[in-house]
Symmetry: C2
Subunit: 222 residues, 2 copies
């Protein structure tokens, strides 16, 4: 059976779960706390990082980017990157934008402080970090609106890893109700479309111990 | 004419230059200082990040990972990722290892302090960072040795982006003579092979203003 080692607080692992569900691939989930040493995980991935996929044929694939590329090569149904080299480059550019830039400027400051710090160290969030995250998020939400005014999905006419990366990060910030949706109606419209996909159900069921989800987190009509 | 916007102090930009040379693709180089706002760059890449490739047909490709994938799709001669999905996954895993883990644990502490801080802010290196970089580098050099004892190149029987990522980072640390080659003879053997390739000549000619290269930097018989 295909296995995924992941953790709900990692946006890159959320992205990979979305990718597996978009491709309708079954998998068993193993949640591992990324802040603890785990010898089983180190046996699969010497870097100790999540997510790790072990495919049906026991091929071990490490690194979220490598996993998405691998899935698209081996299971081409429901393509995650687009068809032409230019559209594939655009999907990869935007996936990196959300995996790295959005993560560093927003996710880390909001979900990192309110969820990961709380669960891993039982510590209170740093108020300066929260302020920075709340300021930084607007530019990104505007950029999503700008893109979706011009295209059906972030990278073009079809859903790609760009949408999955963006939605995976946003879903974590949304868990604590920190996405100012009402200020960004076009971005909200795009998120409603992603959130309504069957692939997204897995994320909406996730809970973080000790931190209840905001009322609208699992609500498709928020 | 194909154009690459880059900077010599960015290992990911060094990797892309190696990739273009491995594929024997001609390109004009434009060096941009990553610590200054550059409106031309922002016009090409709204994230403001380097490297950016503008291909012959004016396709703009942003993000070092996306550029390498694009080059391999459009110019398949001299493949940079390997043939099977599993070997491609292995090349991507290791490229991410050096682009992210090695960069964070080693390059940033050594080249970041001795070169980038000096050139961008005329500041002296932080001695604690240097100490951390000098300690961290050993595990990575051992891992390269472990891999090359089992394979011709880092990810398998052919040179891939994994070798280019590793060598691009190491070349920056080597510029100031901070790679303890004599403690890691197998890793040195692999690096001699990479360094001797025609693609590597471009890096060996690079200079950092105000910081002369260590004597062995451009020496193929160091």
């Amino acid at each position: 059976m295909r296995r995924l080692y992941h953790h709900t607080l990692l946006p890159t692992a959320r992205k990979v779960r979305l990718a597996l569900h978009e491709k309708r691939l079954e998998f068993a989930e193993y949640a591992i706390e990324p802040w603890r040493r785990d010898d089983d995980l180190l046996g699969l991935n010497p870097s100790g990082e999540l997510p790790v996929l072990v495919d049906d044929n026991e091929t071990v694939v490490c690194d979220h980017g490598a996993i998405c590329e691998y899935l698209d090569e081996v299971y081409p149904e429901a393509p995650l990157f687009g068809r032409s080299p230019a559209s594939r480059a655009e999907a990869r550019r935007l996936a990196a934008w959300f995996d790295e830039k959005f993560f560093r400027e927003v996710t880390l400051h909001l979900a990192g402080e309110k969820l990961t710090r709380r669960v891993s160290a039982n510590a209170a969030p740093d108020s300066r970090a929260l302020k920075a995250g709340r300021e930084n998020i607007h530019t990104h939400l505007q950029y999503i609106a700008w893109l979706t005014e011009r295209r059906s999905w972030l990278a073009g006419e079809h859903i790609t890893v760009a949408d999955l990366s963006a939605a995976a990060n946003l879903s974590l910030v949304d868990y604590t109700g920190d996405v100012p949706w009402n200020d960004h109606p076009l971005t909200k419209e795009w998120y409603v479309r992603v959130k309504s996909r069957p692939s997204f159900r897995c994320l909406l069921k996730d809970t973080v111990p000790g931190v209840p989800a905001a009322a609208a987190y699992a609500d498709l009509d928020f």
